[in-house]
């Protein structure tokens, strides 16, 4: 007995040339936790919308085949009826909160379905306790943080205790901590209440370890359906863009099986003798970043480290000299009237051609710092020196004022941005990556290039392929001498585009150093490769990690240069 079944479903949006779903057939059993994988525009969101009846009831279009959810045929029942058995959570929590207070938000779905006041009160209480939002019940929804909003929106979707929960990239707007909390929460729902979860996500490494099954979509077709392990094996040969960094590391190092999580990866490495054993009681462990290639695992304090691989050394960070700085911030404070200080004496200098990732949890002050750098805000104390800066804010759509791409930029600028063929299209119809490119071209202008290019969370909702294109573009700009400053929550992206990382907390710079050190030793602010290798050798990318592992096995092996090239 399946809780969700697709039988040869083909769906085409109104006025679309190609179908968004093509001949999809699948069955999901009660209590399964399924992960939907695929690049942007390949049908993940449409599949979820078809499952809850929004396609075709809300969106229109041509629909063929049959979808049944908890025994209800979506052709016969609309989203309102299906919402009773399926909770849905989309990307943007702002559009999913429709009431002013959290209590009213949680109560809405129950009230709409005519539950009695007592049932509503009980339902609200239970879902608030289950999701840990009971302390927010009396708060206004517009006061909540992004993570809290997404949690409340999930609560609203779960208030009627649906059997199935459909989630469309729910972590894309969240910082790593809030995202991990949400995934943990879904896992608990699945384990404790046997709620069936269908989760579409780009950052697969975040959720593969808790998934029972992975469904991969390509061009609207079901390209793979299997366990997380089998998906990773399949992606290595069929969809490299879907490979997790851990799987890529193993694939490059010639290790098997590809790991679904850090725990499994480390167990495998330990079995192969490629990880240091846990330190004995009383023995001080060596700081992870000090372990470099060529050292035998299990290095103890006092042993001299061998030189790092060339690829790692080449990306070492050099502190810029102040006179040549493209951007110089000296003791910058931003203090709100009758409120807290958002920035507290920030000192930051960027040299021309330097690329820096600005990291930290939500509310740490990253966006405020960028706004100060661009002159959108004036510091209450301190000084900022910058000749020319282009700032790309979080939502590229905010830059588009016209109905045609050609009206947004000159022909030369469109050509330079690789968007010449899209001049007649509406900017809002472009893909996420194209919109990002157009917005970046708009803020940098078509005249003299800016001294600093700053981007605020540019990878939200982007798939791995689009992120790689953006990282390449930023590296190109850095090579041309523009300083690059990127605020991001994504350590993999930070590693791909920055040589230096500045970590902010409570408006202060709490760490500033080379990416190879700062992204190698942490839990949240670390790449998956670094977490798997325990920060050894400062290896951040799978290629670097694979080179390091190879050097453990064969010290004479030459590390390939130009990993990012």
């Amino acid at each position: 007995m399946s809780v969700l079944a697709f039988a040869d479903v083909t769906y085409r949006y109104p006025a679309a040339q190609a179908p968004a779903l093509a001949g999809v057939s699948l069955e999901i059993a009660p209590g399964e936790m399924c992960l939907l994988a695929g690049l942007s525009g390949h049908g993940k969101s449409t599949l979820l919308r078809a499952a809850c009846g929004l396609a075709p009831h809300f969106h229109g279009g041509q629909f063929a085949g049959r979808v049944t959810i908890c025994g209800l045929d979506t052709r016969e029942h609309g989203p309102a009826a299906l919402g009773g058995v399926a909770g849905v959570l989309f990307q943007d929590p702002e559009t999913q909160l429709v009431m002013n207070s959290v209590r009213a938000e949680l109560a809405l779905a129950l009230e709409s379905r005519g539950y009695s006041p007592a049932e509503v009160a009980r339902g609200v209480e239970e879902v608030a306790l289950a999701l840990g939002v009971d302390h927010l019940l009396e708060r206004s929804t517009h006061e909540l943080s992004g993570g809290e909003k997404q949690r409340v929106a999930l609560g609203a979707a779960l208030a009627g205790r649906p059997k199935v929960v459909l989630l469309d990239e729910p972590t894309s707007q969240l910082d790593p901590v809030a995202a991990d909390e949400l995934i943990g929460l879904l896992w608990r729902l699945n384990q404790e209440w046997e709620t069936t979860i269908v989760l579409a996500e780009h950052r697969l490494e975040r959720c593969l370890a808790v998934a029972d099954r992975v469904l991969a979509l390509h061009d609207g077709r079901l390209a793979h359906d299997g366990s997380p392990g089998s998906f990773l094996e399949w992606s290595a040969s069929h969809a490299a863009a879907l490979q997790t960094p851990g799987a890529k590391l193993f694939s490059l190092a010639g290790l098997a099986p590809p790991p679904v999580g850090v725990k499994q990866a480390r167990a495998t490495l330990r079995r192969h003798g490629l990880l240091p054993p846990e330190p004995a009681p009383g023995q001080a462990p060596v700081p992870p970043a000090r372990l470099t290639s060529g050292q035998a695992p299990g290095l103890t304090r006092g042993q001299a480290p061998a030189p790092a691989p060339a690829s790692v050394r080449a990306r070492r960070w050099h502190r810029p000299t102040a006179p040549a700085a493209a951007l110089q911030m000296r003791g910058v404070w931003h203090e709100l009237r009758n409120g807290p200080a958002i920035l507290r004496g920030v000192n930051l200098a960027l040299a021309p051609g330097e690329s820096v990732a600005l990291m930290g949890r939500n509310g740490a002050g990253k966006s405020t710092l960028l706004r100060h750098a661009a002159g959108l805000l004036q510091p209450t104390r301190g000084r900022i020196e910058c000749t020319r800066i282009a700032l790309l804010l979080q939502n590229p759509g905010d830059y588009f004022l016209h109905e045609h791409v050609r009206d947004e930029l000159s022909e030369a600028a469109l050509l330079a941005a690789g968007l010449a063929g899209m001049a007649e299209r509406n900017p809002r119809d472009l893909s996420g990556g194209e919109r990002q490119r157009l917005a970046l071209a708009i803020v940098t202008g078509d005249g003299e290039p800016p001294a600093v290019v700053a981007l605020d969370e540019p990878t939200r909702g982007m798939d791995r392929e689009a992120k790689a294109v953006l990282a390449a573009e930023l590296r190109r700009r850095a090579q041309e001498g523009q300083a690059v400053l990127v605020a991001t929550h994504d350590p993999e992206f930070a590693c791909a585009c920055a040589e230096r990382v500045v970590l902010l907390a409570d408006g202060r710079v709490i760490a500033d150093g080379p990416a190879t050190e700062l992204l190698a030793g942490g839990w949240y602010f670390a790449t998956e490769t670094a977490r798997i290798l325990g920060g050894a050798g400062g290896a951040l990318a799978p290629e670097q990690g694979a080179a390091l592992l190879s050097s453990y096995q064969r010290p004479a092996l030459k590390v390939p240069a130009g990993i990012y090239g």
Binding site: L54, H57, F58, G78, P79, A80, A81, G83, G84, V88, D92, E94, T95, Q96, V98, M99, N100, S101, R103, A104, A107, L108, A109, L110, E111, S112, R113, G114, Y115, P117, V120, A121, R139, S140, E143, A374, G375, L376, T387, R388, I389, A390, L391, N395, G397, D398, Y399, F400, L401, H402, D407, E408, L409, S410, I442, V443, T444, G445, D446, P450
Partner: protein
């Protein structure tokens, strides 16, 4: 974003009272402001409102509103003194104004305008205090018994106000980061170019108007996109099913708290005092043809009793945490 516009749950007796009672209390204050004309009584009412706002934790917001209210109040005084031809005490003669007759400005018209302005200011303060301290969701839930969809739509509209304000602010910021002249048709005009050297800013009223029109169009476009997403969310929450469902959800059963009772009593007392003041003439005020402002015991009693009735419920701080 102007926080003064939006309700936030704060630890105060007024916030702790149920929305229906809060609305009743605010209605009583509005009635008092409309019924009473004596400047001293209106002044006492205004001061009591500022005190109540301080007790509700929104004193700063109300003081800011007071500054805005003065912008509305001053023109009222000016217009009244210019257009009113009543009153005997002339303080300025503008001569023959053709079809408008003699332009004599009188003290009575000036004072009466000031009283009306004071009344309007008090009404603005009451409305602001109510919007800050009375939960709109809870209030609209009361109305759902009669029209579920209309009440829900009203809830949605109140939720959308801060969202649209945030959208507009975000879009304006994005436009400020566009370098000047990045596109054909001057689309970037009227915005400040951040790629330009720091301190260099676009300017000019024509540019500003065009920039604002473009910004308005972008906010409108964005709000339509948002409306689609919100509509999808509402659909999934059973909005369509609600029309055919028997409504049993007027509100979650909730016992009457001390604050509910206190504000109910306060509302009744304010209404009674206002009616008494009106009927006995204790709060009467005649501006025309000549100023006549009597102050008797009744007036003084009103000046003391009204603030007391308004402020007393604020003194009980038990059980006010959200």
């Amino acid at each position: 974003m102007n926080r003064a516009l939006f309700y936030r749950r704060l630890p105060s007796p007024l916030h702790a009272a149920r929305a229906g009672v809060g609305a009743l209390w605010a209605t009583a204050l509005v009635a008092a402001a409309l019924l009473l004309y004596h400047p001293l009584v209106l002044l006492a009412l205004g001061l009591a409102l500022l005190g109540a706002a301080a007790g509700a934790g929104v004193g700063g917001d109300l003081r800011r509103t007071l500054r805005t209210a003065l912008i509305v109040a001053l023109p009222i005084v000016l217009i009244n003194v210019l257009v009113t031809r009543e009153g005997l005490t002339v303080f300025a003669r503008l001569g023959d104004l053709g079809p408008f007759g003699q332009g004599d400005l009188t003290v009575e018209a000036l004072v009466y305008g000031a009283v009306i302005a004071l009344k309007v200011t008090v009404l603005i303060l009451v409305s602001t205090l109510a919007s800050l301290a009375v939960d709109p969701d809870e209030l609209l839930r009361l109305l759902r018994r009669f029209s579920f969809r209309s009440a829900l739509t009203a809830s949605l509209a109140t939720r959308m106000v801060p969202l649209l304000a945030a959208d507009a602010q975000r879009l304006a910021e994005a436009q400020r980061t566009r370098p000047a002249g990045t596109a054909r048709g001057g689309n970037a005009r009227g915005v400040r170019g951040c790629v330009a050297p720091r301190g260099v800013r676009g300017s000019g009223s024509a540019r500003g108007v065009r920039g604002r029109v473009a910004l308005f169009a972008a906010v409108l476009g964005g709000s339509l996109d948002r409306a689609m997403d919100v509509a999808a969310t509402l659909e999934l929450r059973g909005f369509a099913a609600a029309s055919g469902t028997r409504r049993r959800t007027g509100g979650m059963a909730r016992p009457w708290s001390r604050h509910d009772l206190a504000f109910c009593a306060s509302a009744i007392a304010v209404l009674a005092l206002a009616l008494a003041g009106r009927l006995t003439g204790a709060a009467a005020f005649d501006a025309y043809p000549q100023l006549h402002m009597h102050v008797d015991v009744g007036t003084l009693v009103l000046c003391v009793a009204l603030p007391l009735a308004i402020l007393l419920p604020m003194c009980d701080r038990r059980g006010i945490e959200p």
